[in-house]
């Protein structure tokens, strides 16, 4: 493999050119996708939400090594906080910039609530407890409609306020001359901005004193403690940080969908996010991003291709309903992936550093 990192260090301007190209591609992407079909922009938006979720879960699972099967609960908490504070249910209509941080904070609190009793658990046992936690949250959302109607039960919460930035309503189409920018496209840019922020935060966290402490706990908890790392606080911090990102993603999910119900936060969703982290490469931020994008898009692409397209070419006509076959193919692809790249598509690599002792400042 060519030494891309080394080449980039030698040519710092190449890095900037690459960055500008990637940015241009990401800005043009929804406009191109919109010509194929608005559905693809919506799928992309959901994919970005899943990237955020995967990055949040990656802090818990990938960095700190704590298996969490109930992660979607934090997404649910964020989503419900947003729906309650920006919707007709209690007739509260706060702005998004106030609610998203509140959602993150409440999810963070739930993260600590989950973390505190599970500090001594690891592996299978932790997985079972977190799985139970995820279900508890969902069941509460389903049943907290009486005596006091907090969540509106299985009927869910509807007509949630869309995000408004500087007077631009994200629910409607804006026209700039000839260009029509739909609400979905506006959300895309908003999500992209938040995602860039989250990726930067993750990169900084990983390459920090805190990130190293998490990795030490993942590698050997007793050795980490013996090096003076307060493993209790560090694990709680991992749960709290991971949950916060889940809460932010949940809030944006609420505003995009305009409607949420407990059905959006089932165990399968937790498993899906965990699969994204594992498939992409636990602990590797770019791997996790890639895993989330792949697992978001592949089932959708299969939906449109394994019908008349592929089967027609092979058999002359469509034999099996693509709805039936696409998840089978998807599962098969994951099994094959894991057999051939058990550490993920982009495994967590050793971070190389310049070996010369840095000069005194």
């Amino acid at each position: 493999m060519p030494d891309i990192a080394g080449a980039l260090r030698r040519h710092p301007q190449a890095r900037w050119i690459g960055l500008v190209l990637v940015a241009a591609a990401l800005i043009a992407l929804p406009l191109v996708l919109a010509t194929i079909g608005t559905a693809w922009v919506r799928i992309t938006n959901l994919a970005i939400l899943f990237v955020m979720l995967s990055l949040g879960l990656n802090i818990v699972v990938g960095f700190a090594g704590l298996l969490d099967l109930g992660y979607i609960a934090f997404y649910a908490v964020g989503a419900y906080v947003y729906a309650l504070l920006a919707g007709p249910h209690f007739n509260i209509h706060w702005p998004w910039w106030a609610i998203l941080p509140i959602g993150a904070a409440v999810a963070c609190l739930f993260g600590v609530l989950l973390g505190a009793p599970t500090l001594k658990l690891r592996g299978d046992y932790l997985a079972i407890v977190t799985l139970g936690f995820g279900e508890i949250v969902r069941i509460f959302l389903n049943n907290l409609s009486e005596p006091f109607n907090l969540t509106n039960g299985p009927k869910g919460l509807a007509t949630i306020d869309p995000i408004k930035v500087a007077g631009i309503d994200f629910a409607s189409t804006t026209r700039i001359g000839e260009l029509a920018i739909s609400g979905t496209i506006k959300y895309y840019y908003f999500l992209l901005a938040v995602l860039v922020l989250i990726i930067i935060l993750n990169l900084r966290l990983q390459d920090s004193r805190i990130g190293r402490a998490w990795e030490a706990i993942r590698e050997d908890e007793l050795a980490a403690r013996s090096m003076g790392i307060n493993t209790r606080n560090m694990k709680l911090l991992a749960f709290a940080m991971g949950a916060s990102f889940g809460g932010i993603a949940g809030g944006m999910f609420s505003s995009i969908q305009g409607f949420i119900s407990p059905e959006s936060f089932i165990l399968t969703e937790s498993v899906m996010v965990l699969s994204m982290v594992v498939l992409g490469g636990m602990g590797n931020i770019w791997g996790v991003v890639l895993g989330a994008i792949l697992l978001s898009f592949v089932p959708e692409i299969l939906r449109y291709t394994v019908g008349a397209d592929v089967q027609g070419r092979i058999f002359g006509r469509s034999l099996i309903d693509p709805e039936v076959i696409r998840m089978l193919l998807f599962g098969l692809a994951m099994v094959v992936m894991m057999l051939f790249r058990p550490a993920g598509i982009l495994p967590s690599a050793v971070r190389k550093r310049e070996l010369a002792v840095p000069k005194n400042e």
Binding site: R209, A213, E215, A216, A223, M227, R353, L355
Partner: protein, 268 residues
């Protein structure tokens, strides 16, 4: 043999008084008392199952003693946990090497700096001048420590890919990164060849010269006798002898513990 090595001062750094530890009905340690002076290299030997590692785990906060008192630099240790012990200034290595296997050697040592540095979540996220300066200092110190233990060129290798001897050195570097005043080593020479042992001995001597007191569990009697100022012998969880190596070697109770009754010659 350097049993004439001077014992510099007699200020105790660690005092252990009447330590007892039971696991169910098994008495692992009973009435163990000793005291280590500042600047000493103190050896702990004994046959397999004598309670050496149990004693180590009590000293480093992994187990809590059932009775007895431990004083470090004059302060009684209460409600200790391994991370608090490290913070107080006692670092350790492990008998069965416990490195952070999938991290680079340099990062292993950088993690050792955790307890002496401060950056929190907001520091990490905002990465202001103070955090960046701290990160540079952590990395610089880690490089120095790798050089110090003699694996300066291995910084970017994964800990698990290092040779056995280098892994032992890395563990020492990681422990030194916590700025200990007492460094405790659990069988540092296990699995080392003769050359590596000579180098290890030189390393331990230089650590002592830099002002760190050492407590060493070791099976290699020759290494212990050559290196340590004083030696404590444990057998069946009790201390049966303590003193300078030459006296210990001739002590009939020690000979009996190691070789059984009927022997009179020192093990050589």
């Amino acid at each position: 043999m350097s049993d004439a090595a001077p014992i510099p001062a007699t200020v105790p750094i660690l005092e252990v008084k009447g330590i007892g530890k039971r696991f169910g009905g098994l008495v692992a340690l009973s009435e163990v008392s000793f005291s280590i002076n500042k600047g000493e290299i103190y050896g702990l030997i004994g046959p397999n199952g004598a309670g050496k590692t149990t004693l180590f785990n009590v000293l480093t906060g992994i187990y809590r003693q059932d009775e007895g008192e431990i004083r470090f630099e004059g302060n009684t240790l209460r409600n200790t946990t391994p991370d608090r012990i490290a913070k107080l200034g006692i670092a350790r290595t492990f008998q069965n090497i416990r490195l952070f296997a999938n991290l680079s050697a340099l990062e292993n040592v950088m993690i050792g700096r955790h307890v002496r540095t401060r950056a929190g979540v907001f520091g990490a996220i905002l990465r202001g001048p103070a955090t960046r300066a701290e990160e540079r200092a952590i990395e610089k110190r880690a490089h120095e420590l790798l050089e110090y233990v003699g694996i300066g060129s291995r910084g970017n290798e994964l800990a698990k890919q290092l040779s056995y001897g280098d892994q032992r050195r890395l563990e020492i570097a990681r422990a030194l990164a916590t700025d200990p005043r007492l460094l405790t080593l659990d069988e540092p020479a296990a699995g080392m060849n003769a050359t590596e042992k000579v180098e290890l001995r030189a390393l331990l001597e230089s650590i002592r010269k830099d002002g760190v007191t050492l407590l060493i569990i070791e099976h290699d009697v020759r290494l212990v006798m050559g290196l340590c100022d004083r030696v404590l012998v444990l057998d069946y969880g009790r201390n049966i002898a303590e003193g300078v190596p030459r006296a210990i070697q001739k002590d009939p109770r020690v000979i009996e513990a190691y070789l059984g009754t009927g022997h009179t010659a020192p093990p050589e």
